[in-house]
């Protein structure tokens, strides 16, 4: 062990690895860390902390992430994945409606996990997320100058179990230990709580690129207690973009007499144009959607009043969850002391107006709505690492958890808005003599019937002692942990033994599949490393080859005995032969051999240089 690596023991605050906070967003992602006491976002190589959540999968070569991939959205839309967060933890049937607007297509077998066919391969949403996370990890490592292996990642508060699990899988595939999943609105409250540590009730209205959340929290002496949460995991700025896109496509169809809706390149350019217009309308009273394509121009004047009228139905969809959330918290709008706005879509004036009208309060916008969630995640990272001791988050589960009983009815075990971790136990028995298995179907949702709730998983209680029907007594414990993820354990009450439980997730990857992806990414990382080594070794070999070629033109070469000349030529040829192979270790050894063989030549050259210098002749 080198001197620099000596461990100064566990008391040293630097001995524990740093935990970063990550906002894995629909549109953009960020990484932040706790610097002494204040959270800070970490910029990438381009200086911006926002990494577009876009991954380009070229037909050959490594995927490209972020701003670089944004360009590919225009040039290679079929192989460029964006808004992958909307596909997390979902199956093909869930996203059939919106896929028509996305340029990439699904591979077969997407029922329980979506598989995107891009760049001649198949990728799942957690893998796409992992590419973005890996980029953030690298950005953090570059700035912090140390390896980053542990993270807090934020998720929409209204994410269900499968969506949370998919996010956690993305972290694992990216080589990150996910210490905690934190709900985005709660994280935002933490970020705000740093400056003003007062007591009161706050509502966080989080309207992002693809998801909407509302959370109501009680703040009391550093304790952030979530009273209720609600939302829509399929409602965001994307919906506004799609709406404007449809309007523009109709315009163009009637103006140009041409339907562009199947032309991916045109769609991506037009999408860019309507997004630009949407952004401008946050500050300007009117703008123009400008789109040039195939030698034709489309210009549409768009005053804010028209824009507002168009998007009102979308904004109204956020108000229902807000009212339900207030009712669940047992509060009236007047009892909310502060309102915090989070997410890029809250820059829209109509959104601010709607929030103001509902809560009868001027919303807080001091922190950058794009950064506030990542900043809060960094605070939570500080809580977990022990750097922040005076704050604690008590969050809730957004959806009720239940099991399917006779007649397809759901029996609720843990109600929504229960503080997590939360648990429930239920006893099961057998229906037939000698029955060895009991299958339990777990669901999430508020509806009465199983078919109207989200199927979460089927748990198979296996190897039950074969006894008479009704004699078996299996106690099953359902535990929702602090990440909002379900854990199930079972005990045979007759024997007191732990009962084995086999989990079949309804949506999402199995543990084995995630493990395989982690392995593959390690292999990939090794391949990447090898490729880089080969490239670097060749550069070095180029230099050596050039130097030797040049020396062979010098007087010193001709002073060498013929045997030594032959030795050098032999080593030179061997290096040239290995040069185009992939074995960088071989190239290095051939380089060393050449270096060794030409030592006499180098000495002779040095001597003649000295002689030349003594003679006053400059030798080049």
């Amino acid at each position: 062990m080198s001197v620099l690596q000596i461990d100064f023991g566990d008391d040293s605050p630097t001995s524990a690895p740093r935990v970063v906070g990550i906002d894995l967003g629909t549109t953009n992602s960020l990484v932040a860390y706790l610097d002494l006491t204040a959270p800070k976002v970490i910029p990438g190589a381009d200086g911006s902390p926002l990494v577009p959540s876009i991954v380009h999968f070229p037909a050959s070569g490594e995927p490209v992430v972020g701003a670089a991939a944004q360009q590919a959205l225009l040039t290679d839309p079929h192989n460029t994945v964006y808004s992958a967060k909307r596909l997390m933890g979902r199956g093909a049937a869930d996203v059939a409606g919106e896929l028509s607007l996305l340029p990439f297509s699904l591979a077969a077998g997407s029922e329980s996990v979506i598989r995107l066919a891009v760049g001649g391969r198949e990728v799942t949403p957690p893998e796409v997320g992992a590419y973005v996370l890996r980029q953030l990890k690298q950005n953090a490592e570059a700035v912090l100058g140390e390896p980053v292996t542990q993270a807090v990642i934020t998720v929409p508060a209204y994410f269900n179990d499968a969506q949370r699990q998919a996010t956690k899988d993305a972290g694992r595939i990216a080589g990150l230990e996910v210490l905690r999943l934190v709900n985005e609105p709660t994280a935002a409250a933490l970020a705000y709580g740093l400056d003003k540590r007062q007591n009161g009730t706050i509502a966080v209205y989080d309207f992002g690129g693809g998801t909407f959340d509302i959370s109501i929290l009680k703040l009391q002496e550093g304790l952030f207690e979530v009273l209720a949460t609600n939302g829509d995991t399929h409602l965001g700025g994307d919906d506004i973009d799609n709406l404007l896109l449809r309007v523009a496509l109709e315009d163009i169809a009637s103006e140009w007499g041409r339907d562009l809706s199947a032309d991916n390149e045109a769609i991506q350019r037009l999408r860019r144009a309507v997004i630009d217009a949407k952004h401008e309308l946050s500050t300007l009273p009117a703008t123009t959607i400008a789109f040039d394509y195939d030698g034709r121009e489309y210009r549409r004047h768009l005053p804010r009043e028209v824009f507002d009228k168009l998007i009102t139905p979308i904004i109204d969809r956020t108000l229902g969850p807000c009212r339900s959330c207030l009712a669940d918290a047992g509060l009236t709008p007047e009892q909310i002391d502060e309102v915090v706005l989070v997410g890029g879509s809250t820059r829209i004036p109509l959104v601010r107006q709607a929030v103001r009208a509902l809560f009868k309060a001027e919303p807080h916008t001091e922190l950058n709505p794009d950064e506030v969630v990542a900043l809060g995640a960094a605070v939570q990272a500080g809580i977990l690492s022990g750097e922040v001791e005076d704050q604690l988050l008590l969050d809730v589960t957004p959806l009720s958890l239940g099991i399917e009983t006779m007649g397809g009815v759901v029996s609720k075990l843990i109600l929504r808005n229960s503080t997590i971790p939360a648990s429930a136990t239920e006893q099961f028995t057998t229906a037939v003599d000698g029955q060895r298995n009991v299958l339990i179907h777990v669901l999430q949702g508020e509806r009465e019937l199983a078919k109207d709730c989200r199927s979460l998983a089927r748990f198979d209680l296996k190897d039950i002692d074969p006894v008479m029907a009704g004699m078996a007594r299996i106690e099953v414990r359902f535990l929702i942990d602090a990440n909002g993820i379900l854990n199930v354990s079972a005990k045979d009450l007759r024997t007191g033994k732990e009962q084995s439980v086999e989990i079949k997730p309804s949506y999402g990857l199995t543990d084995e599949q995630v493990e395989a992806m982690i392995l593959e990414s390690f292999d990939k990382a090794e391949e990447d490393f090898k490729e880089r080594q080969v490239r670097e070794t060749r550069v070095e070999a180029d230099r050596v080859l050039a130097a030797v070629e040049k020396a062979k033109q010098s007087d010193a070469w001709f002073e060498l005995p013929a045997s030594e000349q032959a030795g050098i030529d032999q080593a030179l040829n061997e290096l040239l032969l290995s040069y185009h192979g992939d074995d960088y270790v071989l190239i290095q050894s051939k380089m060393e051999a050449l270096d060794h063989a030409s030592r006499g030549l180098a000495e002779t050259m040095m001597n003649s240089a000295v002689r030349g210098a003594l003679k006053g002749t400059k030798i080049e």
Partner: protein, 180 residues
Amino acid sequence: MNSLPSDYYSVFGIAPTLALDLPELQRQFYVLSKQFHPDRFARASAPEQQYALDFTSLLNDAWRVLRDPVSRAEYLLKQQGLEPGDSRTNPPPPELLEEVFELNMALEELRAGDGDARGPIAEALDRFLAMRDQLDRDREALFVRYDAQRDAATLGDLRALLNRRRYIENLVRDAQQALS
């Protein structure tokens, strides 16, 4: 490693009474949360992490059940071996039969599109709410009586009261749903 508390009352280290000082219980909930929450043990050993998770989930479950007087009473009854009756199979209390009959008529009329039925439903709702309030006052009295005597007879009365309350609660819910 400490073993987990065996019931919701012992999580808080308090005697199993029906009447509780809620602000004090809440204060205790916050104190224990700050002490045992899994976030405080993110870097602890695996058994410590497991204990923090198990204890905190028990604490949260206990706080959720004990803070509400009705669920608290149901919990204590269950602990004493008195399962509550199933409200779906229980017949309506006899003195409510006529009320329930009239409410169902009005609900059906409203469903059939007769807006005039809203008036009688709203009136019925007011009566049910008043009944519920009265039951809650009676329940408080039973709480005090049980805590003093700790007798089976009071628990029996409490069980009957809770069954009746659950029935009225369902009527309140149906009426409110119809009116909203």
